[in-house]
Symmetry: C2
Subunit: 697 residues, 2 copies
């Protein structure tokens, strides 16, 4: 029995009394609820905020006129959104509770070209006049998913644009500026987030988090969390599956290589070749799979980037866009390029140089200590500490620099911004993760030590990672649940003492409103960290697994857990993210392609140094051996590129499906512009089916 | 004063008397005209076949019932085409003269989505109902260009499809098969070709062939010859312009390198680096330019390949297409792939192996002879003769094999077929052109000889090439003109002797019909040979110009002539080709990218071997030198790929133009499907603007 949220408060603080609606029902019972906000048990049993899709909250102590200012603009310029203002119960925080009527959503869906399922099958852009052809069109509560509604509200809120003369305190707006993103960037609005849907989430928990060895329900994930997150899990799932082959072969190699030097040489050679082929094929296979998924989720060949709204922090001269006519910032790309190539690039290369040199110094220090006969104890640990401190400091500073440079480069789109940030951050992480191994392999040339270090790294890193990601939150949750139970019991006791006569049911039923709890949950921090972790692991497997054949097995074991712990994280303790539309995994694919090429070089160099070649061809001089390895390397790289070139990136059936849609569209055009042509005929062609930056589910 | 072509002959051979129209007026005076058909002077003054756009001819001695069979089907199934049948005057050859009415062309243009210019500017698909908004809409003779009409006729002829039971002699047709392409493939129809337009051609001759140092009129070329040919000339023009820089630097290097060893070493190093950078930037710049041109000519992001008609020789099980529903052959791509990788690939690699080994044997033979003190004369020339015979035979056999394999691979589209053929043929030509140079450079390691050989090759090859392409046809033409004059004088004399009283004007006016002359002209043999010649030259420049710095200068001098001689060829002595739509230069771009990568390796290897490194770092061991060169090579390749990755393939303004069109389309869609929305609003989005395989100009 959800508490009706539209009830007007009788206590009002400001002159804007009639506008602010503070819900006393919410406010009364849950003064201490802030302490429980991370408890998922509590949250699950909270009252769902049924009549609300998206929440906007303001920071503590926001003055009323600020809230008023935004509210009046929202009401005047986007009258279709229903806004309810409440003060949170347990803290002096205002919240806008946003939703809209079914009719508004229908209109919005048509305007934005939201794609819905036809009764006969097939996704087409929703048209009001063909409403009865769509699935579930007669059920207003089921026709749009919660994700659909949230994305539409988001787009409506982002559609609130400034007019000349708008200003709020020191913040002045140019004509046409998006108000809410700007306010968020300035910190005036604290957060805007969509609400979870308990039923869908419960389903996902069952079919995804707990179904350990089952296929991931990718379509459901995509529907609930959006394409970007679903794409990450699809990628992770496929990578994990592909790891099975090198894991098995790794065990075989490991076992066989204990049978003497000759067997080992051949085993390592074979495993080496297998690894290179595997990496190439895997990357190609993912490209095809990704195209398939993008087609299924409607993001293949997205619309021109110039049509997307700029990200809120994009700066530039405000003038009408030559494309849409709307006022928006313009920043000449020549300026960006000059900065990028004359400042960013040298700065990044210089910093990476400093990183490499500092790390190498630490390694040399370590080596010097290791070679001492009987080093004093403090000296023994000094290099390790130096390295840790060094990396910690460098990491911090490098990150700051990378963000600063990336901000200065001033990219128009969020996606481009992120991709360039990824390149910068990954470059650092590459050295951070692999430099010590390169040092051992190619400078010290100690393959046994390489093997041991790699094994230790893989196992400790992954155990630590999983503990951090899954076990810690799990324990935290258990502790919080226990605390909450105690608190609830205490509250009950207090109430009983006070003699208040609550209905018994009210003590067992939810204590807090869902919106309030979720606003205090931590945000999902983007897919970056998750990808990075996997990328580093991918590197260990393809770069060095000929030195430590069990690398793939370790990775496989880790990933089986990783998938579910990442899923657990998303479904349990985090605020729901807005769905984002992406066509593929972006820069990560490129980064892995580069890793694939580096892998060829590293594997062949290891082969050349490992003594196998000497044993296989004892008569060769060093020069001849180097030339052999180099020629082999060029050959392998040549074949690798040829294979990548020969395998089409988009599967044939997807091409055919796209062609089918295009053919129908043409036939429809030939038939004239009759407004009564069936909706299949109005399908848009490949690449033009989608609108905007966010996800429309 | 054109002779009216519809005049019915009074002499008829067959029972189909009323269908065949043999033009006596044409037949009488020009019995010997066959001898002059290559004479462009004669052709220029021939009677233009104004009422005819496309000609279909049958081989000599074709039986009448065959002609009848096709004619009746054309008239019944494509009634909009006007077909006139004539027997050629100077040989027993039947010809169909095809055209259509203005109204038919208008309808056809709308159906095919032909793009025409609006009065206000901008190309949009032609719509009958908005006719008055288009430029020249009130002038039926000028609204469609000759290229427009020819492409539409071609599409209409190709639209003639078989029904069940159609058969002609031994040729049986499946339901839905395209009849005319099939008949051409079987040799029943000899040729189908569009007619030249004398006015446009005269303009092109003036502004293109004769304007030696002016910019090429690319848009006019595109309008007359279609995108594919225009793209070749655009590419050649840009390549030639870019050659100016290395030509100048080459001269500088050449001059400076005569000032002693140290200067030479640094010069060669600098020139080496410049060459690599130049090749990379040139390839990127062309990609951008190509996208620009494709946008301007309306071929950027062409429609899905699955919507194009299969090429006539495509075999497969006949069944309805799952995309268009039309009957067409199906060939599972798995079969093709199996053949390609299990038969073609090994066969090609094997053959190339044979080629390389044979050539190397000849080189070794030569070397053996060269080392003899006083070889007998016949032995002196034996290796050269052996090589020539060897290459001649190998070339023939390899070509046969390549065509056979490519046919067996059974590609659905002409374009794919050609691209795969190019890969096969270019692989052979690569060894043919460069193996001797590689042999001299890396096996004999004689850089002086490399320089001499390269210089000789570049100069002789190009002089011979230009003589063959430009001078020979020119002389031929002069001779023919002279012969023709004599003949005409003789004919005049004969007539005068016979006392025939022709009007004096008739002797001076054209002697032959344009259609008849053009049917005897040689066909334009595709852009392949032209591209190949330039590709080989590009290779000489980027691979070896550090050995012979004047390579770029030679290439530049050649290309300035090459452009005009290729233009001369097209505008003077060849049958007009149908315009073809292409998005870019296809496989040639890939081939040149590969060449760019090979160039890095070759240049650095030459650097490592040339002694410069030894002189620069005298203390280095051989092993260290090799490692230095290899590391340098990897670094350069890395930078090369990074540069290619960083430069966007499509210029920003093109992206913006595309976005603008897309935005307008969306706005129009939002405005409802009103049939009266202005035509700008019906512009199709990026990638979907174009229809079919051929060019619509």
């Amino acid at each position: 029995m959800p508490i009706p949220e539209k009830r007007t408060s009788s206590q009002v603080k400001t002159a804007a009394a009639d506008i602010f609606k503070k819900d006393e029902g919410e406010g009364r019972g849950f003064k201490k609820a802030g302490k429980f906000v991370l408890s998922s048990k509590l949250w699950e049993s909270s009252t769902p905020s049924k009549t609300c899709d998206v929440i906007i909250t303001f920071p503590k102590d926001t003055e009323d006129y600020v809230v008023m200012w935004l509210l009046s603009r929202l009401r005047a310029r986007v009258p279709d959104i229903e806004v309810h203002v409440r003060q949170m119960a347990n803290s002096p925080v205002y919240g806008f509770y946003l939703t809209a009527s079914y009719e508004t959503f229908l209109r919005q869906a048509e305007e934005l070209g939201l794609r819905k399922k036809l009764i006969g099958g097939g996704m087409v852009e929703f048209k009001m006049e063909d409403k009865e052809l769509f699935e579930k069109h007669d059920d207003p509560t089921a026709f749009f998913t919660s994700g659909d509604r949230q994305s539409m509200i988001l787009e409506m809120v982002n559609g609130l644009r400034a007019v000349d003369g708008d200003e709020l305190g020191k913040i002045t707006f140019c004509e046409g500026m998006q108000i809410v993103p700007r306010l968020m960037a300035e910190g005036v609005v604290e957060k805007m987030f969509p609400l979870h849907n308990h039923d869908d989430l419960a389903k996902l928990r069952k079919s995804w988090v707990q179904a350990f060895f089952k296929k991931q329900p990718l379509d459901d994930i995509c529907e609930y969390f959006g394409v970007k997150i679903a794409m990450y899990f699809a990628w992770l799932g496929m990578y994990t599956k592909w790891l099975i082959a090198p894991a098995i072969l790794g065990i075989v190699t490991f076992v066989l290589s204990m049978r003497g030097e000759v067997t080992r040489d051949w085993c390592v050679l074979a495993f080496n070749i297998f690894n290179i082929v595997w990496a190439t094929l895997y990357l190609e296979a993912w490209k095809r799979k990704s195209a398939e998924l993008a087609y299924r989720w409607g993001t293949l060949d997205m619309p021109s980037e110039a049509l997307k709204d700029p990200r809120p922090l994009f700066r530039g001269e405000f003038k009408p866009s030559e494309i849409t006519g709307q006022m928006e910032p313009h920043y000449p790309s020549i300026k960006r390029n000059i900065f990028r190539y004359c400042v960013s690039l040298p700065a990044i290369i210089g910093s990476l140089g400093v990183v490499v040199i500092s790390m190498l110094c630490c390694f040399e220090f370590q080596r010097w200590v290791d070679m001492m006969d009987n080093p004093p104890k403090p000296l023994k640990f000094a290099p390790k500490i130096a390295l840790a401190v060094c990396i910690g400091m460098l990491d911090d500073n490098y990150k700051k620099l990378a963000y600063k440079l990336n901000d200065k480069e001033n990219y128009r789109l969020q996606e481009t911004y992120e991709n360039h940030l990824i390149i910068k951050l990954v470059s650092f992480q590459f050295f951070n993760a692999y430099l010590s191994l390169f040092y051992i392999a190619f400078y010290i040339q100690d393959l046994t030590r390489l093997k041991n270090t790699l094994g230790a790294l893989l196992i400790t890193k992954q155990v630590v990672g999983n503990v951090k990601e899954a076990l810690v939150p799990f324990v935290k949750q258990k502790v919080k649940e226990w605390k909450m139970k105690k608190q609830a019991a205490k509250a009950k006791k207090e109430k009983e003492e006070k003699g208040e006569k609550d209905k018994p049911s009210e003590l067992d039923t939810p204590l807090m409103h869902q919106a309030e709890i979720e606003s205090n949950m931590p945000e999902y921090e983007d897919t970056f960290e998750d990808y990075l972790e996997m990328f580093i692991q991918f590197g260990y497997v393809v770069l060095f697994s000929s030195a430590f054949p069990l690398a793939a097995l370790c990775a496989l074991a880790n990933n089986v857990i990783e998938i579910r712990s990442d899923a657990f994280k998303l479904c349990t303790n985090l605020r729901r993210p807005f769905g984002e539309r992406v066509e593929n995994i972006g820069t990560w694919q490129d980064a892995m392609e580069v890793m694939g090429v580096v892998a060829v070089m590293v594997n062949l160099a290891l082969l050349g140094m490992g003594g196998s070649v000497q044993r296989m061809f004892p008569g060769m001089t060093v020069t001849e051996r180097i030339i052999l390895i180099v020629v082999l390397e060029h050959l392998v790289l040549g074949i690798k590129f040829a294979v990548a070139y020969a395998i089409p990136d988009i599967p044939e059936w997807v091409e055919n499906e796209i062609a089918k849609v295009e053919f129908k569209r043409r036939e429809a055009l030939k038939g004239g512009n009759s407004p009564n042509s069936p909706p299949q005929m109005q399908r848009e062609p490949r690449g033009k089916q989608h609108f905007g930056v966010r996800d429309w589910y």
